[in-house]
């Protein structure tokens, strides 16, 4: 794969090992300026490991480039314009929020602007050890957003945030993205992630099993159909006889898009009339679960 400057971040066949265990398996994806990537997957799938690998904190094989420059375990120079919040906010509890920011900030104006935007003024001069989980989380996000980064990596950024803070953070992410900052965000709160992300990278057991724009991803929701017949009991027998997969809920049978023509044929042959057939509007969580189920066989 060619490294192009247009790709802010590029992972090419990246594998991360812990001991002899391969945690991330040949991950390949790119992030372009202004993109907001949702990195989703079950616990232990390798989301945090991928993030740490991008930051040059893990041993890996393959190639990682940031703005076209290779990142290695011993070369973090390309990460100069990368902000990150990994696992828990990296905060010194004996310093105030302001002092924590000062450790990393290149300009006071930038620092003040982020503090204002995240509404942290009331406590920014207090020692961080007294902060609530949400306050710490906001400070961690503020640190990641300092110095006009090109790429921001956020691991579960919405943890502990109240509704107002969640909205502030979401708006700030969108504002930065409009200016060209790319984001790689992992979150278990998929409904929140869905509001900001432009692309989904789904990871399971260390492997990237899906990498799609959010609009393509959402079309998956139309790949399931809900059908009703005048005789569901008979219809189920026909489905079973023809090895057509279905699920049943509230007098409805749910089938996949691929089965539509087959069930229509079979029901017609058996003189059973369809009374209803409509696409199922699944939410993101359901889609993820379905994709993961399919992957696991």
């Amino acid at each position: 794969m060619n490294t192009t400057a247009k790709n802010l971040l590029q992972l090419d066949s990246v594998s991360t090992y812990v001991g002899h265990t391969e945690i991330v398996k040949k991950a390949t994806f790119v992030i372009k300026p202004g993109e907001i990537i949702g990195l989703i997957g079950p616990n232990g799938a390798g989301k945090t490991t991928i993030m740490k690998t991008i930051l040059g904190l893990m041993k890996f094989t393959g190639e990682i480039t940031v703005s076209g420059k290779p990142v290695t375990e011993n070369n973090h120079a390309p990460l100069a314009k990368v902000g990150a919040l990994i696992e828990h906010p990296a905060i010194y509890p004996f310093l105030t929020g302001q002092e924590n920011l000062k450790l990393y900030a290149h300009s006071k104006e930038d620092m003040t602007r982020i503090v204002n935007r995240l509404q942290m003024n009331s406590y920014i001069n207090s020692k961080a050890k007294g902060y609530s989980l949400g306050m710490k989380q906001k400070l961690g996000i503020a640190i990641a957003l300092l110095n006009q980064p090109n790429l921001v990596i956020l691991d579960e950024p919405m943890n502990g945030l109240d509704i107002e803070s969640t909205i502030s953070v979401r708006k700030l992410i969108q504002e930065y993205a409009t200016r060209g900052t790319a984001f790689l965000i992992s979150s278990h709160i998929l409904s929140e992630l869905q509001k900001v992300m432009t692309r989904v990278v789904l990871i399971s057991n260390g492997k990237i099993i899906l990498n799609q724009s959010i609009s393509d991803f959402e079309t998956i929701s139309h790949q399931k159909y809900q059908v009703s017949t005048e005789n569901n009991a008979m219809a189920k027998k026909i489905f079973n006889a023809n090895q057509i997969n279905y699920t049943e809920k509230d007098q409805h049978l749910t089938i996949t898009q691929e089965s539509i023509f087959k069930i229509q044929d079979e029901l017609f042959k058996n003189n059973i009339h369809l009374t209803e057939m409509s696409p199922v509007e699944a939410n993101l969580e359901q889609i993820v679960v379905d994709v993961l189920d399919k992957e696991r066989g």
Binding site: L55, G56, L57, N74, H76, A84, P89, A90, I91, Y104
Partner: protein, 251 residues
């Protein structure tokens, strides 16, 4: 490197443990002056400062490193820097700088306490049998500083090895209280292996007293020069092992 040192200094300045270390040293020296004998020996050993400074250093040194892991700030520190050695050396330098600060504070406090508690005005510069009080005090404090180099290396190695601050502090207390006794006991138990055992790291604690009291060489079985060189070499070895483990430690 200068930026890394500046950042580490900023952290240590703001961390309470450095202040507590100083307050503890003042308290322990004052206690020693109040309850112990206020004689020449007490003064040249800085009212027990030579015993307590290394213990404070092992506590502060390990806590100063461990807090990066407990606060998850190690991630920022590592990904913002390509050079792990720079991070490690900056921390080492700052802890050693703190040891210098404590040593200077101990010298000044020794002057102050002796003015208050030593009943007879002592002549600090009078040379008796080739020794002056001021000379011995400064030699002992310099030797303590040397021992602090050893201790800083040890504390960094131990915090990478055992990862639990409390365990490192316990080891520090063990070294401070019984390190020399264990070393002597080992020599007594295995007299035939004296030429090997005398080089054990527990013997290095003698450096803080032996340089001004050559008679202790009979106990440590090491000359002053041997003790000084061995202390520096051990400090370097521990420091290097600590760095190797720091480099390999997963975050």
């Amino acid at each position: 490197m200068a930026t890394a040192i500046k950042e580490e200094l900023y952290k240590l300045n703001h961390e309470r443990i450095s202040l507590y270390g100083l307050l503890f040293l003042i308290a322990i020296m004052a206690y020693s002056a109040l309850t112990g004998k206020t004689n020449r020996t007490a003064i040249i050993y800085g009212f027990d400062a030579i015993e307590w400074i290394p213990i404070i250093i092992i506590t502060v040194g390990s806590a100063f490193f461990a807090m990066e892991y407990s606060n998850n700030t190690i991630i920022m520190l590592l990904y913002k820097n390509s050079n792990k050695l720079k991070i490690y050396l900056a921390k080492f330098f700052i802890v050693f700088l703190y040891a210098i600060f404590l040593t200077i504070a101990a010298v000044l406090l020794t002057f102050l306490l002796s003015l208050i508690f030593v009943p007879v005005t002592c002549n600090w510069i009078a040379v008796i049998h080739g020794h002056s009080i001021i000379g011995d005090l400064l030699i002992n404090m310099g030797a303590t500083l040397l021992y602090c180099f050893f201790i800083t290396g040890l504390s960094f190695m131990l915090i990478m090895l055992v990862k639990i601050n409390a365990v490192v502090i316990c080891i520090g207390l063990f070294l401070g209280y019984v390190g020399s006794s264990v070393s002597v006991a080992l020599i007594d138990v295995f007299p035939s292996a004296i030429n090997i055992i005398k080089w054990n790291p527990l013997s290095m604690i003698f450096v803080s007293q032996q340089l001004s009291r050559r008679s202790l060489a009979a106990t440590s079985h090491l000359s002053n020069l041997q003790l000084v060189v061995a202390t520096i070499i051990y400090g370097l070895i521990f420091g290097m092992i600590g760095y190797y483990m720091f480099k390999r430690r997963r975050v």
